[in-house]
Symmetry: C2
Subunit: 565 residues, 2 copies
Amino acid sequence: MRLSKFHLATVKEVPADAEIASHQLMLRAGMIRKLASGLYTWSPLGLRVMRKVEQVVREEMVRAGAVEMLMPSVQPRELWEESGRWEKFGGQLLKMKDRKEQDYCYGPTHEEVVTDFARNELKSYKQLPLNFFQIQTKFRDEIRPRFGVMRAREFLMKDAYSFHLTPESLCETYDAMYEAYSRIFTRLGLAFRAVDADTGAIGGSASHEFQVLAEAGEDALAFSDASPYAANIEKAEALAPAGERPAPLAALMRVDTPTQRSIDEVTAFLGVPANQVLKTILVRGREGLVALCLRGDHELNEVKAAHLPELPGESELASEADILAATGTRPGFIGPVGLPTSIPVIVDRSAALLADFVCGGNQEGMHYTGANWERDARIDRVADLRNVVDGDLSPDGKGHIRLGRGIEVGHIFQLGQKYAEAMGAGVLDDQGKMRTMYMGCYGVGVSRIVAAAIEQRHDDAGIIWPEAMAPWRVAVCIINPKNDPAVAEAAESLYQALSQAGIDTVLDDRGLRPGPMFADMELIGIPHRVVVSGRGLEAGTFEYRARTDTEARNVTREALFTLLG
Amino acid sequence: MRLSKFHLATVKEVPADAEIASHQLMLRAGMIRKLASGLYTWSPLGLRVMRKVEQVVREEMVRAGAVEMLMPSVQPRELWEESGRWEKFGGQLLKMKDRKEQDYCYGPTHEEVVTDFARNELKSYKQLPLNFFQIQTKFRDEIRPRFGVMRAREFLMKDAYSFHLTPESLCETYDAMYEAYSRIFTRLGLAFRAVDADTGAIGGSASHEFQVLAEAGEDALAFSDASPYAANIEKAEALAPAGERPAPLAALMRVDTPTQRSIDEVTAFLGVPANQVLKTILVRGREGLVALCLRGDHELNEVKAAHLPELPGESELASEADILAATGTRPGFIGPVGLPTSIPVIVDRSAALLADFVCGGNQEGMHYTGANWERDARIDRVADLRNVVDGDLSPDGKGHIRLGRGIEVGHIFQLGQKYAEAMGAGVLDDQGKMRTMYMGCYGVGVSRIVAAAIEQRHDDAGIIWPEAMAPWRVAVCIINPKNDPAVAEAAESLYQALSQAGIDTVLDDRGLRPGPMFADMELIGIPHRVVVSGRGLEAGTFEYRARTDTEARNVTREALFTLLG
């Protein structure tokens, strides 16, 4: 591509309403332009990048045995009534009426349509398993669209839906998709993690999110520094430190803590570290109150607590009145020693390893020191109650936990029979019996990947594309072409040779001065820059600089082809 | 592709609601499935064909210098208010409100959005000319969607929009698009014509439609049998037959035609051919009535008549009362001889060459024979007033006119300044002066091409794809694979070899009997069928049949590769 025939329109100013780096850089590079809230036009530059992502996604889906199809974006209300989501999907569903006053929506996802397709097309188990995918425009009417294409309303998505006779077959395809997604993000050159995730509104049994790691990510992640283990903070299993609980050494002692209620106040007042103080939280149980005990330096994970059998499926703090009624004291002074036996004591794994700890005395203005489990306080159950913290042991036994943030770019689900049952999608098995199919669904946010990659890979000068996503791998820049035809000719010849070698190259023949030209190439993130100048021609070299290099260097033509080959 | 891993679902029954061949065959071949009125899912088979069309379109657009971009499908009302089309576009515009009660539409076309993009992005004449294109989903809320994807509501379109400083530059790009479109349809292997067309609702100055020729087409076309000349019937110029008007031989005679009013009645009664009878039609002029004279065997073209300076811009027949008042007689007996001089006599080119003709006598129950222009009747103007007929001279002087029907699959327009002016899209010229841009727009109905090709190319057995559009060029069919592993192995090896030679091949490994297998391959229109059987293996040959052949023949492996290469 010759840049003089292309529409490149970079912008110097940082746009005022762009909050994160990827949004700012996509606007400055001229990759996208806003049409309306959450609606973006992809310029020729932006589309080149998105098409490269799209092609990698398509190739890996096909390699994994999926077949491509294309469903309409406009979907009739009737199907959404069948699945029960016409109302339940909420405000994100953009609804409309056609000229005959029939109700439709702009598809935010295609479970209903594909299940309808499958129930009409699939008759026999012999046709299974099948995995259909499409790369298609979706619309979700976000309350607050922001961050450019990261959270746009109209976006490009790859969605796939698989159909199976058995849960085992579903698992096989799910695993194949897990592998395909891993290959996609590896090929795209992105640091990512596959994260065990909640199934949320889509429903179903198992689910993994694929997260591109980036500081601006919306999701808090825990991952191992020595294995592929990763999970959302809400789901990451917290292990106790290695080793056994020490034997009690200290005697149980009452200490006055007249106004010290919080962990910070108690540790400061008594001069003990927070990891030697027990935090006791009273929550509403199925019957009466329940005590949850954690180390003072740990945070309660409410999702985990809500799964305790003693709790009613959610984790709600007890009111001060309830606490007073049940224990005779106020919050801030509660502890397991001498707690009424009607209140179950559930202890986090790490807290269960404490010995000689500090805890509330169940009396206003009083704590215990030298408290010990069993000897002084009962444990009704040990459970994983807390959020993981940096440095925890990884639950897969390999390495330690690190915390970070991620941007969700892919999500795979085992839907089970949820949609197939609601919509009556079955096939005949080998006994001639009708069987409801099992389904999986597998999404990739194609347009979002573009923004996520920029969040992960940029510097002050602009975007740093991985090779697989760059609009062009190589930029050939011409210095002073008008006054030096030999330079223009040499650049043209180099451009032709690179292109013929299958290297995706752009020729910057716009005639800009070196400063603005180089700034543009850095801003739009071209991985390799080659400068053709009069001085270089005399020396028989080109000036080469990788986007990630700090210095340019002079290389011969042969060396250049070796570098780029 | 191995068909056992693909989802092929052909259907035997002709669907009841499918009226035309392409709709029937696309459903029977399982290329599309109806989701709702005018909404179709493209199955894997259908999408393979559409993607091939899309790719040819993309390649030719890029070759012609256009750059690809992507605009949102959902568009804000404000832009459509600016162009004045929010109301004017009519019921085809699918409107919707988002959760904030803002008005949007699903884009049926993108003049507004691209003009908005251009007015923000383009500042200087140096950036021009530019031609942006996208391949994107559109929606038009047709009153009566029908014929499958031929007139669907949601469809895939390639739309391009060019921007220029001058009308000359617009003409250059328009010509380049004309050539690109010609290459597209030639590469796709379709018989087509580029037709001079009305600009209609889109507006602008010049326009051509690209029509795929097919009997089921909605548009009546006239085209030369010896040149590329083609036009819609409404616009096709009708020439007079070669030669001069003969000198008068007969005397003007009154004949009684008591009840003979129509051309058919008069010719039967008098025993003269229709092309010797003059038909005189009185229409409303700007002032009083106007007489339009045509040969009895010709039809008035109302579009041409409406352009006459004597008419008020439309062609409306005079009422019987007006005719009686102006001529003293009734319709059926009107003629130019002795017509009041207040009524201009406008004569079609062919009618102007008549001599010794029959015409109405301007008196009830009376005609003239032996009438002659100049001697008996005045001619105020000779004009092209009629529809062309089969056998007319082609207006470009090459060959004769043939009539046929076409399906519009492409349309190019010179929009001029219509949208740029309404929306204030200008650039600075080399004098620093703001100049409104000139625009062209260029559409291809990508999904419609698939149906149009089938209309043009099918037989009783199914679709006959041109090579460039076929889902696969070659089908390798296996006879009796289960009982004859050598056959399965030979077929697999042939399939691999063909694929590696870059020949798009499908292996029919479904294990069907020959009858249903061959019927499927014919129905889905694969251009080349190769059968691997035990008998063939013994003889060292494969059975080959082109889709258009009547008989199969045995060929060696070498001959096969030569055939398909």
